[in-house]
């Protein structure tokens, strides 16, 4: 079946602009996660959605970052007034939501802020 789908695959934008990144999880997966990977670093957790529960936003680095998940499926990560340090690969993952089940990742969006 289809895996996690992310779009766009690449995004180049000017500092100060807003960007939206999209994630379509694996069908039937109730849990959805956003991570980012900066150059030479491991993946850093950003936000977690589980079903209709309130998301855990504890990993978001600033209030310029927000995310929503509509209808328990597709998610959008929005970065307002982008800064150069926001340049990274943004990865989305989904899982069944059951304990100790692996998260499955999309191919990410490579964001470059000029």
């Amino acid at each position: 079946g289809a895996g996690v789908s992310q779009s766009p695959s690449n995004k180049v934008t000017e500092k100060g602009k807003d960007v939206e990144l999209r994630c379509d999880p694996i069908s039937g997966h109730t849990a959805l996660y956003w991570y980012r990977q900066s150059l030479g670093q491991g993946l850093e957790f950003l936000i977690y959605f589980q079903g209709n529960s309130a998301p855990d936003k504890s990993g978001l680095p600033s209030d310029r970052f927000s995310a929503e998940r509509t209808g328990g499926s597709v998610s959008t990560l929005t970065i307002q007034r982008t800064q150069q340090e926001d340049s990274a690969v943004y990865l989305c993952a989904s899982s069944t939501g059951f304990s100790n089940q692996p998260q499955h990742f999309g191919d990410g969006t490579r964001l470059s802020i000029l």
């Binding site: 491991g42 993946l43 957790f45 100790n100």
Partner: protein, 112 residues
């Protein structure tokens, strides 16, 4: 604060030999551990996982060993193949948590 550490940034192994990738963690609350493989321009692909109630899990050529007392896990690939060349990430999750904590990765090169 890096709670999951992969101290070898790179490893080179000959085809057919064993590859051993190591990972250390500091948080004793971690109870589920995973290895992911990542090719350039692709997302991480889940390889194998282990729960803290076990000390070994095997799947084909891949075996993960967990030493809880040493807070150490390792991934063994036997025999190594050129297609195994990729970056390998170790990840860990706290009990009742959901966010994965990742190491910085080890780049494995398997030479013919």
């Amino acid at each position: 604060d890096q709670q999951v550490k992969q101290n070898s940034p790179s490893l080179s192994v000959q085809e057919g030999r064993i590859s051993i990738l190591n990972c250390d963690y500091t948080n004793s609350m971690f109870d589920y551990f995973l290895w992911y493989k990542k090719y350039p321009a692709e997302g991480p692909t889940f390889l194998i996982s282990i729960s803290s109630i076990k000390d070994k899990n095997e799947d084909g050529r891949f075996t993960v060993f967990l030493n809880k007392s040493a807070k150490h896990l390792s991934l063994h690939i036997v025999p190594s193949q050129p297609g195994d060349s990729a970056v390998y990430f170790c990840a860990a999750k706290r009990n009742s948590g959901y966010a994965l904590n990742f190491g910085k990765g080890t780049s494995l090169l398997v030479t013919p």
